[in-house]
């Protein structure tokens, strides 16, 4: 499947499988985007869910302004929960368990007659330590795969005064969409358990790219690691070498499906024997 991917300027018009990473400076500005995203979700018949740190009454207040929000909250079409009770404070999350929890919630929403589940979350408190950040980045990619096959859409907020650009980049690159030009590349789920690479790879240090490859759990199938790179705009040689090295360490051939002509040129100039460039589908 070809998913919407790229720089997101607003949270309006996102679909049933979309997943956006949102960097914000002002809480008020983030809340406006949450309202836009969830209001859109209600109109599409999804159950919508808002979760952030703080008291649920205050969180419900962040949603004031959505048409019919009181009725939606009363009927269960809209739900609010506090991260403080939902997540272990200060400890890393268990990525697989977290995905299971959202899968169950999605199924519950469908069983209750909704067309899907849409979640807006302020994830700022969940990436405070390196261990939390690592686990959460893995989770973001894992849940993205679930989203391709189920009607779960999400918007993940990160406050810029608490999550610096480097840390933000580590989670943002695991989303198909973000409102931030940095980190520039996106490693996200392409459907059928496939992985896509989009954007530009040289705006951040190469170590971040390597970290993303490991966290995305890129593993060979039938001896090949296939990257759907139809949205790739620029691949620098350092990142290509990291990709080729990642595949070589797993005795795999890397297949890069891209229409950007520079990829084949680089593979040739770098004499990479375990990388094959194919036309993007």
């Amino acid at each position: 499947m070809v998913r919407r991917s790229g720089l997101a300027e607003n949270t309006h018009g996102l679909g049933a499988h979309d997943h956006a990473c949102w960097r914000y400076e002002e809480a008020r500005e983030f809340h406006a985007h949450v309202r836009e995203f969830l209001s859109d979700g209600l109109a599409r018949g999804y159950r919508v869910w808002y979760t952030a740190s703080g008291d649920v009454t205050a969180l419900a207040g962040d949603l004031r302004g959505i048409d019919g929000i009181d009725e939606a909250l009363a009927s269960g079409a809209a739900q609010v929960s506090s991260l403080d009770t939902q997540y272990p404070v200060g400890a890393p999350i268990d990525p697989a368990a977290q995905v299971r929890a959202y899968a169950e919630a999605t199924q519950e929403a469908l069983a209750a007659g909704f067309t899907g589940l849409r979640v807006a979350a302020d994830c700022t408190p969940l990436v405070g330590t390196p261990e939390q950040l690592d686990a959460f980045a893995r989770y973001e990619h894992l849940v993205d795969h679930y989203m391709t096959s189920s009607p779960l859409s999400g918007m993940c907020g990160y406050a810029s005064d608490a999550v610096d650009e480097q840390a933000f980049g580590q989670v943002a690159c695991m989303h198909p969409n973000t409102n931030s030009p940095s980190p520039g590349f996106r490693l996200y789920a392409a459907g059928d358990d496939g992985t896509a690479l989009g954007g530009e790879t040289d705006l951040v240090p190469g170590e971040l790219f390597s970290l993303a490859l490991v966290r995305a759990g890129l593993r060979p199938r039938d001896g090949r690691i296939v990257l759907e790179a139809g949205g790739l705009e620029f691949l620098d040689h350092n990142s290509l070498l990291r990709l080729a090295g990642h595949a070589a360490d797993r005795d795999a051939l890397l297949v890069l499906r891209t229409s950007w002509p520079g990829a084949a040129r680089l593979v040739d100039l770098l004499d990479l024997t375990n990388v094959r460039v194919e036309a993007a589908s």
Partner: protein
């Protein structure tokens, strides 16, 4: 004393071969090649296309045992000859003495190319010091100008002329490296942008591509330009820690992509070494040399300017 008997540090032999006719060319090079083959030494010939055909015909069946490289293609940019022609061949045979004929300078070289050619000849001495290799560089005395022939005496420790083997008393490769490290031609019609950090890389590439379209760079070379721009700017930002200036303009049949920064390039072989395996970094300048049709550099303690040229038509390549 033969080359094989020399101690390792003296095994590198780098003569300039002066010839004025096809006959003189073949009289010197056919024996050089066939003697090498008789000694089971690997032999490569990297010379302009017409010379390659001449040698191939004269060598007959022996030509099949020689690696033949068209220098007008492989060595279009002199900056890539050491890593991708000479060292690629020599490094592939590093347990025996290797013979190479390398002719990087011919009459059709432009004024813009020549300084890079002369510097390349000088840098061969640094790149191969201590290596078990002979690299013979033919110079056509009937067509090359006096400057090229005079410089050959400075960049080569030995000169072969007919049967004579002469030591050059002018040998001083550092002089040529320094002498051609000159300010690069300034132009008034260049467009320019300042790059302050990696966040500007996307805009820098977009800027270069937009102006390249305007100036007529063929679509099939846009990715080369994107890669060159990215590598030049990334190198500047990484190694200087300051801003750099990107400029683009047309110079005759070429597009020039130039980056200027406040750093000093103190390694004369930067961009001319084959990369070590498992090496992620350090390949930027090498890639630029591989991608561009010509690379010129001017570096001082106060700043460095690199011009990467891309031919606007296939005829100019």
């Amino acid at each position: 004393m033969t080359v094989a008997e020399l101690p390792p540090s003296e095994r590198f032999v780098h003569p300039a071969l002066f010839y004025g006719t096809d006959e003189q060319y073949l009289d010197a090079l056919v024996p050089f090649v066939t003697e090498g083959l008789e000694r089971t030494q690997p032999v490569a010939v990297a010379v302009p296309g017409a010379r390659l055909r001449l040698l191939r015909e004269a060598l007959g069946d022996a030509a099949h045992e020689v690696t033949m490289i068209d220098m007008e293609v492989a060595g279009r940019n002199p900056g890539r000859i050491i890593p991708t022609v000479l060292r690629r061949f020599a490094d592939g045979h590093d347990t025996v003495h290797v013979r190479i004929v390398g002719e990087p300078i011919w009459a059709g070289r432009t004024d813009a190319e020549y300084p890079a050619c002369a510097q390349h000849e000088a840098l061969i001495n640094l790149a191969f010091a201590g290596r078990d290799v002979t690299i013979v560089c033919p110079y056509d005395t009937s067509t090359l100008d006096e400057r090229a022939l005079a410089d050959a005496l400075v960049t080569h420790p030995v000169v072969w002329e007919g049967a004579r083997r002469l030591k050059s008393d002018r040998y001083d490769p550092d002089d040529v490296i320094g002498r051609y490290n000159q300010p690069l031609p300034a132009v008034s019609d260049a467009v320019e942008m300042t790059i302050e950090g990696t966040a500007d890389l996307r805009a820098a590439r977009g800027f270069a591509v937009a102006h390249a379209h305007r100036l007529g760079l063929p679509d099939e070379r846009m990715a080369d330009l994107q890669l060159i721009t990215g590598e030049l700017v990334t190198n500047s930002l990484r190694h200087t820690g300051g801003n750099c200036r990107l400029r683009v303009w047309r110079h005759h049949d070429h597009l020039v992509c130039a980056v200027e920064d406040g750093g000093h390039l103190d390694d004369p072989l930067a961009g001319r070494r084959p990369p070590a395996q498992e090496q992620f970094g350090g390949r930027g300048l090498l890639l630029i040399n591989q991608l561009a049709d010509l690379v010129r550099t001017h570096t001082t303690r106060h700043g460095t300017t690199v011009h990467a040229l891309l031919a606007l038509s296939s005829q100019a390549r």
